[in-house]
């Protein structure tokens, strides 16, 4: 369980997070909000990259102020928005091995974790490729594998589908779903409301450094999203017109319409 208690944070005296309370466990939690609302800043508190100016963050009972990022990286994995910002090795295998090696694991354990992590994101067989030569979706999944190899319980994904085409996006979505089934808690930062509708179990809406909403997906989509600069998914608009109520996927809508 990650517990955020009245968290305040300021960059150089400018307060960006203004009193946030949040509990996050084994679930897919979507973190949404306009540009500059503080999503990334909040996420960086969960693995200790930033420390609260006031309030505190507890990761399975560990206060982030008393632990280093390296210690917390065993619990919370953070996948940054731009995967290229972390690639530096010649091969995919070495790239994924970097994290487990930092944990001080022996070679056989490192190898086992790399194979497992690559398998989990569907990149088995890519071991000898060069990270920079992969496609957009593959790069994103490799970034996830690099973090996954640390075996964290919680995963933070900062806009994992931005800039990907439909097929690549699907591959990342499938990866997220299977990670959830394996028991990971996933914090998904995104601007894509379709993705929220499809994946999220709970939604937190940030506005101006404060929580404007925290609750189930259906209730979230009954908010006046446009006033927060967010777009209603086409699927919901269509479902409403057809009088089908709240649905989460095209298949569900089709099923209701047939009835």
């Amino acid at each position: 369980m990650i517990r955020v208690e009245s968290l305040h944070f300021a960059y150089d005296g400018r307060e960006v997070l203004r009193g946030i309370d949040l509990v996050f466990g084994e679930e897919i939690l979507a973190l949404v909000g306009p540009n500059g609302s503080g999503k990334t800043t909040l996420a960086k508190h969960l693995n200790g990259l930033l420390k609260p100016t006031r309030g505190r963050v507890l990761v399975d009972g560990m206060d982030t102020r008393e632990h280093t990022v390296a210690e917390l990286s065993r619990k919370v994995g953070y996948v940054f928005q731009n995967p290229e910002h972390m690639f530096f090795e010649e091969t995919v295998f070495k790239e994924v091995a970097f994290g487990p090696k930092n944990l001080g694991l022996d070679e056989s354990e490192v190898e086992e974790r790399v194979r497992w992590a690559l398998g989990a994101v569907g990149l088995g067989g890519f071991e000898e490729r060069t990270p920079y030569s992969l496609s957009g979706g593959e790069k994103q999944r490799l970034a996830i594998a690099c973090v996954l190899a640390m075996r964290p319980k919680y995963l933070i994904l900062d806009e994992p589908t931005t800039g990907l085409d439909w097929k690549a996006e699907r591959s990342v979505v499938e990866t997220i779903k299977s990670l959830r089934e394996d028991g990971h808690g996933i914090l998904l930062i995104t601007h894509d409301m379709d993705l929220v509708l499809e994946l999220a179990e709970r939604v937190v809406l940030l506005e101006d450094g404060k929580k404007a909403f925290d609750g189930p997906v259906e209730e979230f989509f009954s908010l006046d999203l446009e006033s927060y600069g967010l777009e209603r998914p086409e699927l919901l608009v269509l479902a409403e017109k057809l009088g089908a109520g709240f649905v989460r996927s095209v298949e569900e809508l089709a099923g209701r319409v047939k009835q």
Partner: protein, 253 residues
């Protein structure tokens, strides 16, 4: 994150002709090189800092904050001088004064960047006789320092999240640990440079030989006056250093 150095203020330094400020920067840097005695360098550094405050309306903290990236080198300088130079106390003093020089160079450069818009800076360089391409290259390079700084800190965050501990281990290990930071940074820089060159060419950069400027600059009375004051100060410092022999200690005998 700082994405640009320029800060909008209504001050004397902001309104001066960029040529005067560029010459001022060169004079400042040369002056710092004249002296190696803390006795002279400490007042000089404080004087530069204060002129930024008074003439440029730049906060003291605001100016010093930009010098933070230099802190590591400064620390190294202050530590190493007393180790290699005897008597050690003089070594320490020399370490301090060389650091002050370095910080002074940084400070003057940042003051120029904080008080001058990019297009004025290019114009200043060009009107001082530099080819436009060179002026543009120079200002683009300066413009990208904060951007690269931002990318570098994102990369550091990303690698720290993978368990990289930058502040552990001996010197050699620490140097090795910069590889995961430097490679993504170089790749990102090359990509940015490549994209920038495409952007420049797609706007027909270099199509005509003689460039004209929509906005031009001209020296006013105030600018000549400022230039006069600068040159007078420079001459006095020269006098102080070479005629009166102040502010210089012999290091190598």
């Amino acid at each position: 994150m700082i994405y640009q150095f320029y800060v909008e203020r209504d001050s004397l330094l902001h309104s001066l002709d960029p040529r005067v400020k560029i010459i001022g920067m060169l004079i400042g840097i040369t002056s710092l090189m004249l002296f190696n005695d803390p006795k002279a360098l400490i007042p000089l550094f404080l004087f530069i800092l204060l002129s930024g405050r008074v003439l440029g309306k730049l906060g003291i903290g605001e100016q010093l904050r930009l010098l933070k990236p230099l802190l590591f080198i400064v620390l190294l300088t202050v530590l190493i001088w007393p180790l290699v130079y005897k008597p050690r106390l003089i070594g320490l003093l020399l370490g301090v004064s060389f650091s002050l020089r370095l910080l002074g160079f940084g400070l003057i450069t940042f003051q120029l960047l904080m008080t001058t818009r990019q297009r004025e800076l290019i114009l200043g360089f060009v009107r001082l006789g530099l080819p436009y391409e060179l002026g543009l290259t120079l200002t683009i390079a300066l413009r990208y320092i904060p951007t690269l700084y931002g990318i570098a800190s994102t990369i550091m965050d990303a690698q720290r999240s993978r368990g990289l501990e930058l502040d552990r281990g001996n010197l050699l290990e620490r140097i090795r640990k910069t590889v995961p930071i430097l490679i993504p940074l170089i790749v990102a820089s090359l990509k940015t440079a490549h994209e920038l060159s495409i952007a420049l060419e797609s706007r027909a950069f270099g199509a005509s030989r003689r460039r004209t400027f929509y906005r031009d600059i001209s020296m006013k009375r105030r600018d000549y006056l400022a230039l006069g004051i600068l040159l007078t100060c420079f001459a006095s410092l020269f006098y102080l250093r070479f005629v009166l022999g102040f502010g210089h200690v012999v290091i190598y005998r």
